[in-house]
Symmetry: C2
Subunit: 393 residues, 2 copies
């Protein structure tokens, strides 16, 4: 008998709640508000088809060969040029989705037992990426404007126990949809600098604003104190798995070495495809169409919530962009218990508990307004109301 011994960290790895729910919701007849799947009609399929023909016809051998771990130079340049502060392409590392950036940062900055701070609640995928490095993850108090800087100061710690970083998603946060205000950003950056605390800024949704762009990133205010992560998943397509990380010069080489060990490099073909599509200001024409669609869908969901859930004592966030809305059920209800009743009635969501590093609020849940159509959203919210009523009976 072979004696398989699992690493201790394996006990802290768990199936993704969201991905397990997504499997259930692949059943026909279920309207899923659970996954964060971008609306497929926004994928520029023809642009990718043209780019694939171009790239393979012109540079096929290079596109299919091993490539530099840092990423494809023109894509690194395009990323640097797109950011609203001075970034040199040498600071840009192309990653296999921005999820990989979380994995690389965790490897480089987290020791077993070291402390890491996150928002309340926070992105589940970040908790999962950090977990294998076995940190103690602690939640900093947060409200609808973002992180509470005083609670941050109280929790940062000192000496060997000092937190390695604060992970923060300031724009249209996953899961709450909230956006950190200008005042709160400035306060956070200044306080973090005083505390000597690195910030890990995640910005996958920043381009998906409705009426006005969000305030400038934290990293633009103190580049040497921040690692910044971005993604092409929401403005182009997630199936190519293309993200990036921007890091201070003395951190970058370690992220690069972790990248080499993780998968050698991000697929060369995909990098060249996206660099090809990005030419001639493609995103300036394309992204506004995504914004308009998502804003309409968000408005449809808000209207349906007002109609069906306000009478039931449910409250919700009013996002200014992004993909998600955050609900809170009335006292006595539990979102995890609600889920099977909702699925029975043809609608799926993600219970909020999974997004808390500690002290989960069992009454919360996350809805995506980008995958289902406006009509489906109305049907789904009515079904959700029905499920809630069934639990109160």
């Amino acid at each position: 008998m072979t004696n398989w011994t699992l690493a201790q960290r394996a006990a802290r790895m768990n199936p993704s709640v969201i991905r397990e729910i997504l499997k259930v919701t692949e059943r026909p007849g279920i309207i899923s508000l659970a996954g964060g799947l971008p609306a497929p009609q926004t994928f520029p399929i023809e642009a990718f088809a043209d780019a694939a023909a171009q790239v393979l016809g012109r540079d096929g051998a290079a596109a299919l060969q091993y490539a530099a771990s840092e990423g494809y130079a023109p894509l690194r340049q395009a990323v640097a040029d797109s950011l609203p502060w001075e970034v040199h392409p040498d600071q840009v590392l192309i990653t296999t989705g921005s999820q990989q950036a979380l994995d690389l940062v965790a490897k480089v900055l987290i020791d077993e037992g070291s402390r890491v701070l996150v928002e309340t609640p926070t992105y589940l995928g970040a908790l999962q990426a950090f977990a294998p490095m076995q940190p103690r993850i602690e939640a900093v108090a947060s409200d609808e404007d973002g992180i509470d800087a005083d609670d941050l100061a109280a929790k940062v710690g000192s000496g060997a126990d000092k937190a390695r970083f604060l992970y923060v998603l300031p724009n249209f946060q996953n899961p709450t949809g909230r956006t950190m205000t200008e005042a709160r950003r400035q306060q956070l950056v200044e306080r973090a600098a005083q505390l000597g605390l690195p910030l890990l800024e995640d910005n996958p949704y920043g381009d998906l604003w409705f009426d006005q762009p969000p305030p400038a990133p934290l990293s633009a205010r103190n580049p040497e104190g921040c690692i910044y992560m971005g993604s092409f998943s929401k403005v182009l397509a997630p199936g190519l798995r293309l993200g990036f990380v921007v890091a201070p010069a003395h951190i970058y080489p370690k992220l690069l070495q972790a990248k080499q060990a993780a998968d050698l490099h991000t697929p060369s073909f995909n990098q060249r495809l996206v660099a090809e599509v990005l030419q001639h200001g493609f995103l300036e024409r394309h992204v506004p169409t995504i914004r308009q669609l998502y804003q309409r869908q968000c408005q449809a969901m808000l209207a349906a919530l007002e109609q069906h859930l306000a009478p039931l004592g449910v409250s919700w966030s009013r996002p200014a962009g992004g993909m998600f809305l955050w609900l809170r059920l009335p006292a006595g209800l539990d979102a995890l218990e609600l889920l099977p009743r909702a699925v029975q009635r043809g609608v799926a969501f993600v219970p909020g508990a999974a997004f808390y590093a500690e002290d989960a609020d069992a009454r919360t849940l996350r809805l995506s307004f980008v995958t289902a159509s406006e009509e489906q959203i109305g049907t789904a919210i009515a079904a959700l109301a029905d499920a809630i009523r069934s639990g109160c009976a």
Copy 2:
């Protein structure tokens, strides 16, 4: 001042020797025998162009959307069908290159300070993938037929100190080019089962045989005692970053959870591209052309070595397939010291020392025979001879 504290493992991450050398050898005029870059003329560019048009035209939205962490079902089925023992598609996890499989296995099976066994010498990328999980890596004595089973038994250890696994690359090994014999495979599998020691079998080159296929994989002899890794990088193209891992049913879920946390899933578009190309027996027609090319290039290198290096007292391996040849310099010479003199003369290689987990043999070096043309190989080996002579003077 921000207080960046690096994880202890970061001190064990180092720039890839090979990738650093590759950068130098991008200079014009250098013939590189260093990197393991497949010959680009073997890349089926047209087949990929056709497949890209097909996949985007037919299933564009799905190919560009988020997808299951396990991988694309038809590709998992194709992998299972291609293996010479009974494998269920549920046991196949598609990875972002087989380098990622090493990262995932390391996360799931290695604790800080736990022991891991490797061949002497072994694949450098495996050492780099294991390092972040902070194992103690120990080398098992190996000769040109493979692992020494008695030394394995002596080193396996017991209790908490028992080795977590033996990592082994039985076919046309990177770096030595050697192939484990049938007798040695059977002996290794039996001894490992007696010892209760898991085997991690890496097989990126197995299809690249010259005159006859290598003996059956270790995993075919004891599937429950082995994790098996394979790759599309050498039979199709490395730039798509597509590999896979086959694991026993009780290990698979943990690898899957590590995969979710690492990059959510391998690019859906790339998986569908390769599944499309694989249809209608493509590899049965395509791979023989790669075998023939690499065999000719290997023969050209062996002839050049005989002509130029035999008189200098250099010895080398005679691979039966794969991409690499292993040289040993005469006493008194050091391959790392030789490298700058060789580069000066227009040829690059990888010094062998990087491939040893311990007790490096400084006289060894690795040559790839697949990237340079037959003519370039002759020129390069003559230049290498010149560099060696310059060191003896």
